[in-house]
Point group: C2
DNA sequence: AAGTTATCACCCAAAATGGGGGATTTTGGA
DNA sequence: TCCAAAATCCCCCATTTTGGGTGATAACTT
């Protein structure tokens, strides 16, 4: 079933479009179906093209952005795998693309062999990413080991993040309501905030929890 | 600066330990420093070994687990890169390892070439991951396109997740307090919950926001 | 001996909550 | 063009929560 995966390209640069097309046509196990300048031109033909994989430029000049493109495409056809191709690897752009449903994110510097390797990686059940993107994604998981908060305070903060009240936190941690209040007061003073909302925002942005 | 990266191995299986050692010694650009059976034996020698990279088994039978090991190691020496080696790729284990500070996660099926490629990837500024791990990490970013919530309700829910009150939500979205209350009532009915905490838990676990 | 952490108590007034009822206007698809 | 969904707003109610203050005790680490 790994044979003849159908590939569609959405890329507004003519030269790149042709380049990708040649690369894909050079490999037996991939079948180049069509290439388009933007999402608006591509989407009406999706039912006919039936791609397994779409290579999508993230910075499309005309029409919707690549982010909106993948969001729309995945909502209509969740089984199509979308790999974003971009010159930028700005963290928020990458994360937005992934949230929107992209299964991979590679940079345009990718040469012949890297593009094919990315497709192979995807077909193998992986998620092709350029080095920097992989590192960004992993770093996004890292929690801050230098949190000023004690373990118990982190417990309390996690429950605050779930919207729990003083009483609910107390019940869940088997402590009295007064104790949960004390913990929260101490959290506020350490994080220099004075409400639950601010505490969560500060703690999450600094990866304290 | 990519030359002679110092490698330390923490792995309780003798055969595997020797195997990794041979592989690393076979490549000029890596310098095998030492191998240990567990974290307790390794950590006293870290200041002497001065590794750039630690290959750590996640399932250590004696002493602390690999997760606790990487957490401790990174808290003491954040500049050491840790790559987890595991037979399992259970989602929660992977995510725990990454949260704890691992810079990569590869499976034990990795052969000679894959282990060296992983180290190369790490040195290049990337994050070595086996295919399944990469996919799990990426899938963790995907939001659910079939959310029953309207865009406005998602806006409100995001603010609830930040711990905001009815009034604060109203102010931030330039609507009246009554409107934010109505939105929240509708969110509760759609998610079949009846408190802010439950709403956040349900929506996040189903990736509605 | 000093510091941190975790636990608990009592005071207060203001704000927030969840649940009930009803209403209008705008918007997007069939 | 019509209808349903979405977004906006208003009133009522009793109960709970909140943030702030001051204080204490025990355990544990350094």
């Amino acid at each position: 079933m790994n044979f003849h995966k159908r590939i569609v390209i959405i890329e507004d640069d003519y030269e790149l479009r042709e380049c990708y097309k040649l690369i894909i046509k050079s490999v037996d196990r991939y079948h180049f179906v069509n290439s388009y300048e933007n999402c608006e031109q591509a989407f009406p033909f999706l039912n006919k093209d039936k791609p397994d994989i779409v290579l999508m430029d993230i910075n499309l000049f005309s029409g919707m952005s690549g982010i909106d493109g993948v969001k729309y495409l995945k909502s209509k056809n969740p089984y199509i795998e979308v790999v974003m191709i971009s010159v930028h690897d700005d963290a928020e752009l990458v994360f937005d693309a992934l949230r929107a449903g992209a299964s991979g994110y590679i940079t345009k510097s990718s040469n012949y062999i890297e593009l094919i390797q990315s497709l192979d990686e995807l077909v193998k059940g992986g998620a092709p990413m350029s080095s920097k993107v992989a590192r960004m994604v992993i770093n996004n998981f890292h929690s801050n080991p230098n949190s000023p908060l004690s373990e118990r305070e982190k417990d309390v903060l996690r429950l605050i993040a779930e919207g729990k009240s003083y009483t609910q936190i107390a019940d869940q941690l088997f402590i009295s309501k007064e104790t949960s209040k004390t913990h929260i007061k101490n959290i506020y003073s350490k994080l220099e905030v004075n409400s639950k909302a601010e505490a969560i925002e500060t703690a999450k942005s600094k990866k304290y929890i």
